[in-house]
Amino acid sequence: MRSYAGRLGSLLPRATRLKLDRKGKFGAAILGAYVLVAFVGLYLVRDPVQQDLVHRLAGPSWHHWLGTDSLGRDMFSRLIAATRTDLRFGFLAMLIPLAIGTVLGAVAGYLGGIADSVIMRLADLVQSFPVILLFLGVAAAAGTTDSFLLLGPGELPIMIVFALVGWVVYARLIRSEILRVRNMDYIDAARGGGLSTPRIIVRHILPNAIPQTVVYAVVDVGLAVLSLASISYLGLGIPAPNPEWGAMINDGQIYLAQQWWLVVAPGIAIAGLGIALALIGDGLDDEMRR
């Protein structure tokens, strides 16, 4: 019986025999810290939505490491709680479009013909559509949606927009890699050996077409978090009072002159995650070019 890691290893060959270079390992260490915080952080800090109007906008102290916000909520607790929101959202906002894009890209690339034309025209259409309009469209719904499966309150409509838009890049990446891999003799050998089309796609084409996409997917998590923060900053994202880095920056910006850390702390959190993911993506990329 092959281990799960072995199976993953055969699906993401060069990428998961994770020979990350030094900067990649550094990025992985930072990401590891974020993930740890996302999983256990919430249990170590106090309630991130508990208001204390007497102690509004308090400065950093032993009690409130990063002070309190305009409603007297503990900023450090909110920052930690937001890590879970943003990370979970970022990964899902990568995985869901990745899944959709892989299937559509694989179908387009392997079958070609009409399926290819239809899927790629759809991709063009999606790409030419102003995304911000979609976010405006779902903003109202976001305020009233409950948690859904892995998604927190208000996240479902936003995720739907990410899924509708995000698959396009993955479909294009996978399709072009499949067009390359399809011409390899081992695909003909598999076809000649009488293997079924799904088996050829899943076991012979996709594992060779996916590695390039993995690099993009890693970086894409950071982009998704940045997008979520941006639309939350615009007030179109995660509804109050749920902690989210972009929304926190929005909340804090009017106090920038005095309580600058209300903006800088979530800003650093976002930047740190983005840098960590970029380092990993870059480290993988260099490794795969070898």
Partner: protein
């Protein structure tokens, strides 16, 4: 030694969009027999084989003709870098054939190790767990042959399987293919641009030019008494003892584009003895002696240009 017919191809035409790259090829191979196909690059050898294996590239179609394989065919390709799936251990790759036909995983794995042993891979159980990039070009081709054998083929199609390898390894692989043919009673079609290589494994050869067969016969007979001027020219390009490399003849001119259609003989523009009839009338395949045919108007009176011990 030769048994029943294992492969029959009649009137095969392969269209590449702009024209036909294979213009009516017929051939037959018996179980336990190796047919060699030679010809310059671009003469349609690979497309003929791919049409038989039903793995034509996209945009290329079989326009006419019948292919009858008695049993199964399996193909061995030229380029050892692209013939093995880089994301699969070689044992798993070999096991794909049996597994897709419902053989349980363990059984298929065991079979893969046996096949590696059969094709002369040392330490087969260890090598089965290797990745393709860990193997030399020669070993990769042995693995590819094992993967082809895994589908229990009655016909093994080899497309220049030794061209990318150095001569020692090439000789070993030719010996391997010859042994497998004899032991398994398999029909083999062996394609190469190199007549010398083909003559080491094939009992019969077929010479192709511009998508057509121009000569066919028993290997030794064709080598000693070539009937088509193109075959004669090919033989003169074979390095021989006592002939310095610089003295070797090369065939003047270039082969025609596959989409080009000729009313006469496609080789006429490059042929030293071409006459008016050659450009106006396509020569039919004529029998020189029983079992040896050539598509040249002058088959009956071949010009003796190939030095031969027995004379012509």
């Amino acid at each position: 030694m030769s048994g029943d017919t294992a492969l029959e191809v009649r009137g095969l035409q392969v269209s590449v969009g702009s024209g036909h790259a294979v213009k009516g090829v017929s051939l037959g191979v018996r179980a336990g027999e190796c047919l060699g196909i030679v010809g310059e690059s671009g003469s349609g050898k690979s497309l003929t084989l791919r049409a038989v294996a039903d793995v034509l590239p996209r945009g290329v179609t079989r326009a006419a003709g019948d292919v009858v394989v008695h049993g199964r065919s399996a193909m061995v390709f030229q380029e050892p870098m692209t013939t093995l799936n880089p994301t699969m251990r070689v044992g798993d790759f070999i096991a794909e054939g049996p597994r897709s036909r419902g053989v349980p995983k363990r059984e298929a794995r065991r079979r893969a190790v046996e096949l590696l042993a059969e094709v002369g891979v040392p330490d087969p159980a260890v090598r089965a767990r290797a990745w393709p990039h860990q193997l030399s070009g020669g070993l990769r081709q042995r693995v590819m042959i094992a993967a082809a054998l895994a589908v229990e083929p009655s016909v093994l199609l080899c497309d220049e399987p030794t061209t990318a390898l150095d001569t020692t390894v090439q000789a070993q692989l030719l010996a391997l293919i010859d042994r497998l043919r004899a032991e398994r009673g398999m029909a083999v079609v062996f394609v190469s641009h190199n007549l010398a290589v083909v003559s080491r494994v094939a009992q019969r050869v077929m010479v192709m030019y511009a998508g057509r067969v121009v000569e066919e016969g028993p290997t030794q007979e064709v080598l000693r008494r070539p009937r088509h001027p193109y075959t004669q020219a090919l033989i003169e390009t074979i390095p021989r003892r006592g002939v310095a490399a610089g003295q070797l003849t090369t065939i003047q001119g270039a082969p025609p584009d596959p989409s080009e259609e000729f009313t006469g003989c496609a080789f006429a523009p490059r042929c030293a003895r071409a006459e008016d009839t050659c450009t106006s009338l396509r020569p039919p395949m004529l029998e020189a002696v029983p079992g040896h045919t050539a598509g040249c108007h002058f088959v009956a009176a071949p010009r003796a240009i190939a030095p031969s011990k027995e004379g012509v």
